[in-house]
């Protein structure tokens, strides 16, 4: 009886229950097994994530913003059958571009700076992705490999910039000068760190949902992702062009995430500006089953987890990396439970024409 009823539960509800279960039971079990005191840790996790106005607005929503955008970036790419795991590098490209821009004499300190900066960040992220997109379209280079390489190149470039051309005036710390107050994103609520970037991220998710569902471009993207061969045979879709466009848009979203993080939270560029937002984006997108509206919800889950983890480490002495275990369990659980998440790359297999055998 109850089994039949549970079958009728809508799928998103099941997913929410699964995530809730992993967090509510997984973390205490894991902590108890390792000899930590689970009770205070869970209370700290709750207090740090959703337990108060301050935790929600200054913690969870702020942490959710970058992963909402990187999650969106990954979702768009995966929907088109593009395995962009380079959101991390594209994020850095966006953040670096904004920092460079903010050092410009007049513009950097003006109120026009912030919208220009966001556009520049998106362009930089898109350009960084375009390298991999081009390599894929022209030379059939697996984007999984090229985007990993580009992530590292971006990281080293940022390392160079913050010790070289963009280093703060005293040349002591490996970070850039903080950007002018006028160039920062405005705060949304009194006594809260929540900034306008959150609204931009939500708007981007809504726009992506609408475009995917109701426009011709969105239809082409979904068609190519679902079956590239059929799209090609149908003759009305330029597969290569569509995937390249999706790839660049995906990069632009990650670049925008970097620009927003810089102008809304950190105000300066440094090497560890992203604690893996690009990679968390993959988990966010998967939990949302690549649905832009779902990304909003799943980014709140991951944002809450990460905000709560910080509090857990501070107040209960539990290492915050324990959250990585839960994130991994959520992703692995999804792979096991949902066939679609399992077989993402069937599409890409069909998409790339079989190349000649490797020389030996």
């Amino acid at each position: 009886m109850s089994a039949r009823r549970s079958q009728r539960l809508p799928e998103p509800v099941l997913r929410a229950l699964f995530v809730l279960g992993s967090v509510a039971f997984g973390i205490p079990l894991l902590l108890a097994a390792l000899g930590f005191d689970a009770g205070p840790a869970m209370i700290a996790l709750w207090r740090g994530s959703f337990g108060s106005y301050d935790a929600i607005t200054s913690g969870t929503l702020v942490r959710a913003t970058p992963v909402m955008l990187t999650g969106l970036s990954v979702a768009i790419a995966f929907r088109a059958g593009v395995f962009n795991i380079g959101a991390e590098g594209q994020f850095l490209a966006g953040a670096a571009a904004v920092t460079s821009l903010s050092m410009l004499p007049v513009l950097g300190a003006s109120y026009a700076s912030s919208p220009v900066a966001l556009v520049a960040g998106a362009i930089a992220g898109g350009a960084w992705a375009a390298i991999a997109a081009l390599l894929r379209a022209r030379f059939r280079v697996l984007e999984v490999i090229s985007t990993i390489l580009l992530n590292f190149i971006a990281l080293y470039l940022v390392g160079y910039l913050v010790r070289g051309p963009l280093q703060e005036p005293l040349h002591i710390y490996p970070q850039s000068k903080t950007i002018a107050v006028a160039a920062r994103l405005s705060r949304l609520l009194p006594s809260s760190r929540l900034h306008a970037g959150f609204l931009i991220a939500v708007a981007a998710a809504l726009a992506a949902w609408w475009i995917l569902k109701f426009t011709a471009a969105g239809f082409r993207l979904r068609a190519v992702g679902a079956n590239a061969d059929a799209s090609r045979s149908a003759g009305m879709i330029d597969v290569s062009r569509t995937t390249t466009q999706a790839f660049v848009v995906s990069g632009a979203l990650a670049g925008l995430a970097g620009a927003i993080e810089l102008t809304g939270v950190t105000f300066a560029l440094y090497e560890n500006i992203s604690p893996g937002y690009g990679y968390t984006g993959i988990a966010v997108a998967l939990l949302a089953r690549l649905d832009p509206l779902g990304v909003i919800a799943s980014s709140l889950v991951f944002g809450g987890l990460e905000a709560g983890a910080t509090a857990m480490q501070r107040d209960a002495g539990v290492p915050s990396v324990v959250v990585s275990v839960i994130e991994a369990i959520i992703v692995l659980g999804l792979i096991v439970a949902w066939p679609q998440a399992r077989r993402m790359s069937i599409r890409r297999g069909q998409q790339l024409p079989t190349s000649e055998p490797a020389e030996t």
């Binding site: 090229s146 990993i148 390489l149 580009l150 590292f152 290492p319 399992r342």
Partner: protein, 308 residues
Amino acid sequence: MTASVEGATLAAAFLEGTIRTATPLLFAASGELIIERAGLMNIGLEGVILGGAFGAFLGATHGGTAFGYSTAVLSGVLVMLLFAACTLGLGADQIITGTALTLFALGTTGTLYRALYGGGGAAVSISTSAAVAIPVLSRVPVLGTALFAQPVMTYFAYMLIPALWWWFMRTHAGLALRAIGERPVAALAAGVPVRGYRLAATLVAGALGGVAGGVLVLAQAGTFVENMSAGRGFIAIAIVVLGRWHPLGVALATLLFSATTSLQYLAQAMGVNLPYQLVLALPYVLTLAALAGIGGRVVPPAALARVD
């Protein structure tokens, strides 16, 4: 006279650093080479190395260096068993599984380390395995101490590449594995147990990745640090690409990546004001260029990262 002596010392230090950096990378890259030639892509190699490093540390604190290496291998194999269960068992996507594995290993090892050894205090350290000088060879000027006065695992690494080349190119099993990486369906039709080979390749890749982690802890750092693999898993993946999925190419690519790292340390130690991040980025740029076909076409195994 003094200038040439100094030059020789520097060259020896540079070579020694290169070999030291290369040793764990070579183990990890060899494992990735094997699994990729079987048509599987393991993005989770970073997690395997991390698992191996923690396993090594755990083992060595209880039973010494040799036991540490065996627990390193075991940990690497365990991580890859999870990979095999998801990808080969459930048909899950390799890229997603690999990404999750790295997250999983990062979280698990970090949390376990804090749980077992505490967070705040000084790092628990273990004695690292001593260098073993090979009698005659280690006396060769410059090259000798750099290449032949290394920990034992480095000598295993030297032997790994010829062994791999021989196995890939001169044995039936090696041929079968390469066939699986190109046309799994054809290999299956020819009677090759594709799944069996892929499982074996996965576990061997786990063992080698585990050894890589073991070397980091037991022969180099002498302790465990959270996220101590520091991207080596991804470097190893790049190495396999730059090495064109060939054992000898992998050896050369490993040397290139290691040499730039060693050069950077040397330059820093000498106080040379080099934008070393750009030097470190160079091998990645080269790998990208190689993929784009500069210097000849680079063709990955045809079935790489596909589900079939």
